[in-house]
Symmetry: C2
Subunit: 408 residues, 2 copies
């Protein structure tokens, strides 16, 4: 084909055409930090990655083979927005609700984004733990929330403080991670769970319970989740609950398939379905079918494997922290999940400390980005999920050295 000589197009200022909400988005501080710490000789407690050596690769292979043999064309075809019916059914049965209360999403992150999309008007007050999961802040941010931070202690959200906040702020939404919270590893006590539900219902505030780690308890007694408690407190009717539950197969099975779900009353799920239709039509069919093959046998076995490994690693890291860390440094002792939280004496800023730590070949995540409104400069998050005993020993020793140096 012969084209006539091409004229030059006048330039268009692309950045000037961005939406206002795009200006509110920022690169994740953590993501930028992780790039720095990905040198192969650095021991990294920074990432929040599940241990890849525990992945049930052979089971995934076998499940894929089964799915493609049994349901080949359907597994590779478009499917329904709500999700693969047998997977929704399995989730619903386990939770004592109906499949109509379940929406499959592409990773918990998508659940949070879609919830932000259907719930948050610009300026709506969203209550968050202090600190909270950075990714949730990122999901909600484009929708223009006004964050109010809830004070927390070693038992999670301080519910007395919550009552004061609710009195003072017309909040729409409370976002909480009650089990082995990211980033602190803390767990909300049972008494506070009940109180949080009473208070939020009383003030008409929706609760998003983000629970990626709930099944990974390696110590202590299991506590009922906010969603389960609320369900009990409204007589078992999911339509009367003001709690929206979000969980995932990323931490219990594998993250790379991106299979997660949201449980909620139908008016919420109905809007999530519409939002998801516009957002990605549906979560990949093949991946949902693979997970469905694995939930009955592999998932429970895998949860035991992961719990045991993370429990040993957590115990190990806590022991090394006790052994090597100087006086005046405190840390949480998680009962599950992947993270613990270190608080240094006031006046020490962990962001410049990271550069010093990387010189000593160890990395962590500074705590400050986990605070919606700033603060926590003297804190850091450590992940033990994918570290060997040797790495924990060498890494924590190096980190202790860095901290001692900073303390003078």
């Amino acid at each position: 084909m012969t084209l006539s000589p091409a004229p030059t197009l006048p330039p268009v200022d692309l950045s000037a055409r961005l939406a206002d909400r795009a200006r509110r988005m920022n690169a994740s501080a953590i993501r930028e930090i992780l790039k720095v710490t990905q040198q192969p000789d650095v021991i990294s407690f920074a990432g929040g990655l599940p241990a890849p050596e525990l992945f049930p690769i052979e089971d995934v292979r076998r499940a894929t083979d089964t799915v493609l043999t049994k349901y080949g064309p359907a597994a590779l075809q478009y499917s329904t927005t709500e999700g693969h019916p047998p997977l929704r059914e399995w989730i619903a049965t386990r939770a004592g609700i109906t499949p109509a209360n379940v929406q499959i999403v592409t990773g918990s992150q998508q659940g949070l984004d879609l919830l932000g999309k259907v719930l948050i008007n610009e300026g709506d007050v969203v209550l968050v733990e202090s600190p909270t999961y950075l990714g949730a802040l990122q999901s909600f941010q484009p929708y223009g929330p006004r964050y109010v931070q809830l004070p927390t202690d070693d038992h999670g959200i301080d519910t007395d403080a919550l009552e004061d906040v609710l009195r003072a702020n017309p909040a729409k939404l409370l976002y909480a991670i009650p089990n082995f919270q990211n980033p602190t590893g803390r767990t909300l006590s049972l008494v506070r769970r009940r109180r949080l539900l009473e208070l939020t219902a009383q003030y008409g505030v929706l609760v998003i319970e983000d629970d990626p780690y709930g099944k990974l308890r390696f110590r202590g007694e299991e506590l009922p989740g906010l969603y389960d408690l609320a369900l009990e407190m409204v007589g078992g009717d999911p339509e009367r609950s003001h709690v929206i539950y979000s969980s995932s197969f990323s931490k219990t099975l594998v993250p790379g398939l991106r299979d997660a779900w949201v449980q909620a009353a139908r008016p919420i799920i109905g809007k999530l379905v519409q939002a998801k239709q516009g957002a990605d039509l549906h979560t990949p069919t093949l991946n949902q079918m693979i997970v469905t093959e694995l939930v009955h046998d592999v998932l429970p076995r895998q949860i035991e494997v992961v719990k045991r490994a993370y429990g040993e690693r957590a115990q190990d890291m806590v022991a090394r922290l006790r052994e090597y860390f100087p006086e005046g440094v405190s840390f949480t002792t998680p009962e599950g999940g992947m993270f613990l939280w270190v608080t240094l004496p006031e006046g020490i800023d962990t962001t410049p400390l990271l550069a010093k730590a990387v010189e000593r070949k160890v990395a962590f995540v500074p705590g400050s980005p986990f605070f919606a409104l700033g603060g926590g400069e003297n804190t850091m998050r450590l992940s033990y999920s994918s570290a060997t005993p040797e790495q924990i020993d060498t890494g924590i020793r190096a980190l202790a050295g860095t901290i001692r140096e900073a303390l003078g």
Copy 2:
């Protein structure tokens, strides 16, 4: 664990807590229609489904096996938001751009949603073809665009009319499907492609070129896409182009893996990365790796297979339309893709006609929902992609009967 007697929680009005943008979302009209037409004895030309009997199931199985063997832990782990580097590299090389100009997304639909999120302010004027792809309207809708419809004819957007519209409206964005458009099957002529690029650049309007079907031309001469033409018109520098390109492996390979991509200048891609981080972190790793295994050998072969089949089916359907349809009914004769468009005499409404057609065991999609601002009541979309010759013969004959009856 013994719990104290559960108090009853006060009810929370969930629907009252929805965001305003949730009220703008609606269930897809087509989706509701499809439910009606999914009776097994109905011949459906309604769906927009690729032919599942052509899916390269064995190739997908082999690719999955290879990926899990070679990259097991990485394939099931979290990965980068931008996408699997070898896949971005392959796309970039083919387009004559850099991987930094490519963002992998979970289906084209996600590309459209993220573009809406980073580009559309409430009230921004978005120019769309009349009719246009319903799914794009759904993706953009939550961000509050003001749609302006562009007149079209058998050669696509009328660029003389476009100039008038640009003069009268401060538009931000033009959304177009130049090849074998969904829903009409029409293709924008080369002369108009150039003119559209000149006009939009002159008026500072970004162009989204949605091109899921471009590789599926089964008749006529290949035309350069808007993105490629614009690149040529700005001397090959992707940073100077005002065109954003969206395409997918859904129609050429399989839809169920949900692998698609966006090409654009870095200021746009940079914001898409941030938006995608909040939206779902990344597209499933396994799926991207599977597609990467397939692009070199299976994809080109598969494109030939699909083109041949769809070409035959289109020819067949057009022949039956000529044979059975009454005078006064016109239809497009597509040169590629999956759809053709039927226009009935004015005054006939295809929405009630659908119920009559389903009585005769044949289904189509009424055209009206494809118009952003309404209209087209006398039109319908027919898909030939997954129909056998027998289904086409029986179905078009039954549809002709329904139309004759309506014509009186």
